[in-house]
Subunit: 90 residues, 2 copies
């Protein structure tokens, strides 16, 4: 049977990964990135990429899976932000 710490770990991973979905949807829908920090999404996307590489290195499927999804979502938000910084205001 799955232990309590394991259950909390899976819940934690699911929540932190899933949380970027509503932000990505909001950003794509409104195209508004004014109050999003470019530094945050640059560092975060790079960090998630490192987590993914780490997961591949230690061959941990949960880390690979969670961070592959987060990477797509965070990179989408980062792309919208960079686009707005370059071609629009904010």
């Amino acid at each position: 049977m799955i232990s309590i710490p394991e259950m909390i770990g899976y819940l934690a991973a699911t929540l932190t990964t899933a949380s970027f979905l509503p932000q990505a949807i909001l950003t794509i829908r409104t195209k508004d990135t004014e109050s999003l920090s470019l530094s945050m999404y640059s560092l975060f996307t790079l960090g998630v990429l490192c987590w993914l590489i780490y997961g591949i290195y230690i061959d941990d499927k949960a880390i690979i899976f969670a961070n592959a999804i987060t990477l797509v979502l965070a990179a989408t938000i980062l792309f919208c932000k960079i686009y707005n910084v370059l071609f629009k205001k904010g």
Copy 2:
């Protein structure tokens, strides 16, 4: 000596934790949370809290340390967002 996967893991943890600092600073400075997703910061803050509890359960100081910092930063951003939703627009 520290191994390459370990190094990438520490780099990943540092980047994803540190990334919320510029967002928290931007949010506190501008008070603008219009393009921040309330769902994202609600789910993310709860998720980070779960990571912290998980870290305490398995007694992993790195997980505790990284998520304690992220929790403070994410909760600060969430507080600003909730304040604006309740008392201002967006």
